[in-house]
C-alpha cells in the first residue's frame, strides 16, 4: 500500500497506521505521540498531539478528510496523501495541544525526575511556543504514594491512559484508574489501595511525564548525569533485559529497555527494577542505544545527535555545544576557572 507523508512515498502493509508509516520513514517525519504506545493495545487517540492533515483520502476517493485526524489510530489507504509538519493547520493545532497540555502542568522541570526524558518537554520544544498566554491559577493535586515504590504527582499527569492500559494488560488485576472527569480527573487507586504486584513498576516507564516516578530513584540525580548501560540477568519472572543507570559506580536506577520512540521493548518485574541495584546482580552488555527522546544523546555518542524535526533550522542557528565535562567539580575547581 502506497502512502505519501510530507512528500515522501513509502510502501506499507495494509492495516498500518499513518503514525507507523511515518515512523518507518524516520524520526524527522514521525508525528509526536503523547498517548499512543505501540506495545499497549487500545492506546492512542487521546492527546491529539499527532493530528495530521489528510489531503487525499485514497486513490479511489482522493477527497481530503474534512478534519485533522489522529495519525496514531488512522489506518492508511492506498494512495493516501498526508501532511505532517508541512501543513500550517497541523502546526497550529499542535501549538494548541502543547498549550493545552501545559495549561495546568507545573513548570517544575528543574525538580522533576522525568526532565531530560520527558515527552512533554520534547513536544513543547518541537511544537510549542515560548510564550504563555494563561494567567489562570493552575489546578493542583497533592502528591500520593501508590504503594512502596511509586509516587504519583498528579499535577504533571497528561491523562494519556498509558498506565491504565499497562496495568490492564501486563499485570494481574488493575487497581488504579481515572477518577472524575475533565481537568479535575485524576489517576487514583481503588479507595487509596496500594499498587502492589510484580509488574506494577512498569507504569513508571510508560508515563510520558513525571507523574509516576520511581521512589527508589527520586531526586537522586538528573538523567543526563547518569550513564545508561544495557544489562541482563536470569530472572524467572521477566526477560531480565534491563537498562542500568549509573552515577559513578553506583546503579541508581533500573528501567526497562526502550526503543527509539521511548516505548518499552520488554516489560520487567519489580524485583529486577527495584531490588537489584548492584553491578554484581547483572551481566553487563554495553552502552545503551540512546533513544531519540533523550538529552543524554546530545553530543555524547557521536551517532545520536538530537535532530528536532520542526525547529531544526532555528536550533541550528543558535546551536551551542553542550559542555559535557560534568565530572569536573566546580566546588574544587582550580582557581583560574573562577
Amino acid at each position: 500500500m502506497k502512502v505519501t507523508i510530507d512528500n515522501i512515498t513509502i510502501d506499507v502493509e495494509p492495516g498500518t497506521t499513518i503514525m507507523q508509516a511515518a515512523r518507518q520513514i524516520g524520526p524527522h517525519i514521525a508525528p509526536p505521540a503523547m498517548c499512543y504506545y505501540e506495545p499497549l493495545k487500545g492506546s492512542g487517540g487521546k492527546c491529539r498531539g499527532c493530528l495530521v492533515k489528510v489531503t487525499a483520502g485514497s486513490e479511489k476517493d482522493p477527497r481530503p478528510m474534512p478534519k485533522l485526524v489522529p495519525s496514531c489510530i488512522t489506518q492508511v489507504q492506498e494512495g493516501m496523501v498526508v501532511e505532517n509538519t508541512v501543513n500550517e493547520q497541523v502546526l497550529e493545532a499542535r501549538k494548541g495541544v502543547v498549550e493545552f497540555l501545559l495549561l495546568n502542568h507545573p513548570l517544575d522541570c528543574p525538580i522533576c525526575d522525568q526532565a531530560g526524558e520527558c515527552h512533554l518537554q520534547d513536544f513543547s520544544f518541537e511544537h510549542g511556543v515560548s510564550k504563555t498566554r494563561t494567567v489562570e491559577e493552575r489546578n493542583t493535586f497533592e502528591p500520593v504514594d501508590l504503594g512502596p515504590y511509586i509516587k504519583l504527582n498528579m499535577n504533571r499527569c497528561v491523562l494519556c491512559y498509558r498506565c491504565v492500559y499497562t496495568a490492564d494488560q501486563i499485570t494481574e488485576g488493575r487497581v488504579h484508574g481515572v477518577m472524575h472527569r475533565g481537568d479535575h480527573a485524576e489517576i487514583s487507586t481503588y479507595i487509596e489501595k496500594a499498587i502492589d504486584n510484580d509488574f506494577s513498576g512498569n507504569v513508571i516507564d510508560v508515563c510520558p511525564v513525571g507523574a509516576l516516578t520511581d521512589k527508589t530513584y527520586r531526586f537522586k540525580s538528573r538523567v543526563w548525569f547518569s550513564k545508561p548501560v544495557d544489562a541482563s540477568c536470569d530472572c524467572g519472572k521477566c526477560s531480565g533485559k534491563v537498562t542500568l543507570w549509573y552515577k559513578g559506580d553506583d546503579v541508581i536506577r533500573v528501567t526497562a529497555r526502550k526503543n527509539i520512540w521511548g516505548e518499552v521493548t520488554s516489560f520487567i518485574c519489580n524485583t529486577c527494577r527495584f531490588e537489584k541495584k548492584k553491578t554484581s546482580d547483572w551481566k553487563i552488555e554495553g552502552p545503551m542505544a540512546v533513544p531519540r527522546h533523550s538529552v543524554i544523546s546530545a553530543n555524547k555518542y557521536a551517532a545520536n545527535k538530537i535532530t528536532p524535526a520542526f525547529p531544526m533550522k532555528q536550533a541550528a542557528e543558535q546551536y551551542k555545544k553542550i559542555d559535557d565535562n560534568r565530572d569536573r567539580s566546580f566546588l574544587n575547581a582550580p582557581k583560574e576557572l573562577n
Binding site: 487517540g45 495541544v97 498549550e99 493545552f100 495549561l103 481515572v178 472524575h180 472527569r181 481537568d183
Partner: protein, 446 residues
C-alpha cells in the same frame, strides 16, 4: 398535526389498556404481522425522518448502514440520556406516555433484526425509569415483548439502563461504553457503532423521539410522514421551550412554521413575558450558536426563518445556528450574555470527560477566563483569547463535546462582542447585581 403527543394528556395513557384504546400497538401488529423488516426500514427511509438527538442524521439511512454479519447479534439502543441544557422533551414524552417509546422500540428493533434492545435513561430520572419498567412489564404480560411476539416468531427483550450520571454518556459511543459497565468515555471513530457498537456488535443508537416516531410511520406510511414539514425537514418535532416566554413547555410542532410564529403565536410560546423584549435565542440546546433577535427571526438574506434544519442553519455559523435537539432557550433584554456564556462554559467544563487534551484543558480555560470577565477581572485581550481557544478545540477532539463547548463561546462573542468589551472596560458597572449592557439602537433596548 400531532404525532407523538396526540393522546399525551389522556388520563391513564401510561397504562397499556388506555394506550391501546387510543390506537396504541397497532403499528406493532401491522409491522409484525404484515411487513418484513426491510419493508419497515423502507418506510422509515421514505419518511425522511431525521435523528432528533441533535445531529439530524436521516434515521432510515443510519439503519441501512447497520452491518449484518451472520451469527452476530445486532442491538438497538435508545438514547434517553437527555442532559443538554435547555432540552427536556424526551423526559416529558417518556414520563407521560412510556408506551409511545416502547412501541417504537419494538417496531424499530424488528426492522433492524435486534433481539435485545436497551433504553439508556438519564440516571437522575429514576422515577421515569420506574414508569418505563412498569410499562415494559405490562408488555411482557400481554405478549408484546419476550418470545414469539404476537405469534410472529420474532423475539425481543427490552431493558432499561439507568445512566451513569454524566452529560457525556449521551454521546453515543460513551453511552455504549457506559452500557457495557465501563467509564463513559467516548470512543474514537471509526469504527462506527453500525459496525462495532455494543459489545463490539453492530448497533444502532437513536434518540427517544426518533424511535417514537417510527410507529406512526409504520401505521400511516413514510410518504404521509414526508408530506408534513418542509423540504428535507419532514414530520413534527418536539421543542422544549424555556426562558422568558409566556408559556414555556414542550410543544410538538410541524417542522416549517416560522420562528416568529413559534415565539409569538398563542398556540405556542405566546410571546415574550409582559413588558419585555426578545434579545436572543439559543435554538437547539446549549451547544448551538446563540443568535440575537434579528437573526433568529429572519435570515441574513432577510427571509423569515423557519423551524427547520435548513432554515435555522442558513448562513452557516456566521449568521445562523442549528435546530439541534430542539432545546429552545429564549432570553429577553434582562439577560446578560456574558453571564449566560459563563453558565454554559461552566457546564462544559464540568462535563468534559477529560480524555482529549483540547477539550479537557480548553473547557476549563474558557471557564476561568469567562469567570474573570464576568467578575470584573477581564482583560481586553481575553476576548480574542477566548475566540482562539475555542478555535483550537473545535474539530480537534474525539467527540463533538469539544465543538459543543467551543460554539456557544465563539457565537456569543461573534454576536455580542460589545457586551464582553463593556465588562472589560467598565467592571465597576458590570459587576453590579442585575447589571446588563444595553446596546444602543438594538431592537431589545428599552
Amino acid at each position: 398535526m400531532k404525532i407523538l403527543t396526540e393522546h399525551i394528556d389522556v388520563p391513564g395513557i401510561e397504562t397499556i389498556d388506555v394506550f391501546r384504546k387510543h390506537g396504541g400497538y397497532s403499528a406493532l401488529e401491522k409491522a409484525l404481522k404484515t411487513m418484513s423488516p426491510d419493508e419497515v426500514t423502507e418506510e422509515v427511509k421514505k419518511s425522511g425522518l431525521r435523528g432528533r438527538g441533535g445531529a439530524g442524521f436521516p434515521v432510515g439511512m443510519k439503519w441501512s448502514f447497520l452491518a449484518k454479519p451472520e451469527g452476530v447479534p445486532r442491538y438497538l439502543v435508545c438514547n434517553a440520556d437527555e442532559s443538554e441544557p435547555g432540552t427536556f422533551k424526551d423526559h416529558y414524552l417518556m414520563m407521560k406516555s412510556p408506551h409511545t417509546l416502547i412501541e417504537g422500540m419494538i417496531v424499530s428493533s424488528f426492522a433492524l433484526g435486534a433481539n435485545t434492545s436497551y433504553i439508556y435513561v438519564r440516571g437522575e430520572l429514576m422515577y421515569v425509569i420506574h414508569i418505563l419498567e412498569k410499562a415494559i412489564q405490562e408488555c411482557y404480560d400481554k405478549g408484546l415483548l419476550g418470545k414469539n411476539i404476537l405469534g410472529s416468531g420474532y423475539d425481543l427483550d427490552l431493558f432499561v439502563q439507568p445512566g451513569g450520571g454524566a452529560y457525556i454518556c449521551g454521546e453515543e459511543t460513551a453511552l455504549l461504553e457506559s452500557l457495557e459497565g465501563k467509564r463513559g468515555n467516548p470512543r474514537n471513530k471509526p469504527p462506527f457503532p453500525a459496525v462495532k457498537g455494543l459489545w463490539q456488535c453492530p448497533t444502532v443508537v437513536n434518540n427517544v423521539e426518533s424511535i417514537a416516531a417510527t410507529s406512526w410511520i409504520v401505521n400511516n406510511g413514510g410518504e404521509e410522514y414526508a408530506k408534513l414539514g418542509v423540504g428535507r425537514s419532514t414530520g413534527t418535532k418536539l421543542i422544549s421551550v424555556s426562558g422568558h416566554v409566556r408559556k414555556p413547555g414542550v410543544y410538538e410542532i410541524p417542522l416549517g412554521i416560522t420562528v416568529e410564529d413559534f415565539i409569538y403565536a398563542d398556540e405556542w410560546c405566546g410571546g415574550i413575558r409582559a413588558g419585555h423584549k426578545l434579545k436572543a435565542v439559543v435554538a437547539g440546546g446549549s451547544s448551538v450558536p446563540i443568535l440575537p433577535a434579528e437573526l433568529i427571526l429572519t435570515t441574513a438574506a432577510g427571509e423569515k426563518r423557519l423551524m427547520t434544519y435548513e432554515s435555522l442553519s442558513d448562513g452557516g455559523f456566521a449568521t445562523g445556528t442549528m435546530l439541534g435537539s430542539g432545546g429552545f432557550v429564549v432570553m429577553d433584554e434582562t439577560t446578560c450574555i456574558v453571564h449566560n456564556t459563563l453558565t454554559f462554559g461552566r457546564f462544559y467544563h464540568h462535563e468534559s470527560c477529560g480524555q482529549c487534551s483540547p477539550c479537557r484543558e480548553g473547557t476549563g480555560w474558557m471557564d476561568k477566563i469567562l469567570y474573570r470577565i464576568e467578575h470584573g477581572q477581564g482583560r481586553q485581550e481575553d476576548i480574542d483569547l477566548l475566540v482562539d481557544v475555542a478555535k483550537k478545540i473545535e474539530g480537534n477532539t474525539i467527540c463533538p463535546l469539544g465543538d459543543a463547548a467551543a460554539w456557544p463561546v465563539a457565537a456569543a462573542i461573534r454576536h455580542f462582542r460589545d457586551e464582553f468589551e463593556w465588562h472589560v472596560k467598565h467592571p465597576e458597572k458590570a459587576t453590579q447585581p442585575g447589571a446588563v449592557f444595553m446596546r444602543e439602537g438594538a431592537s431589545w433596548t428599552l
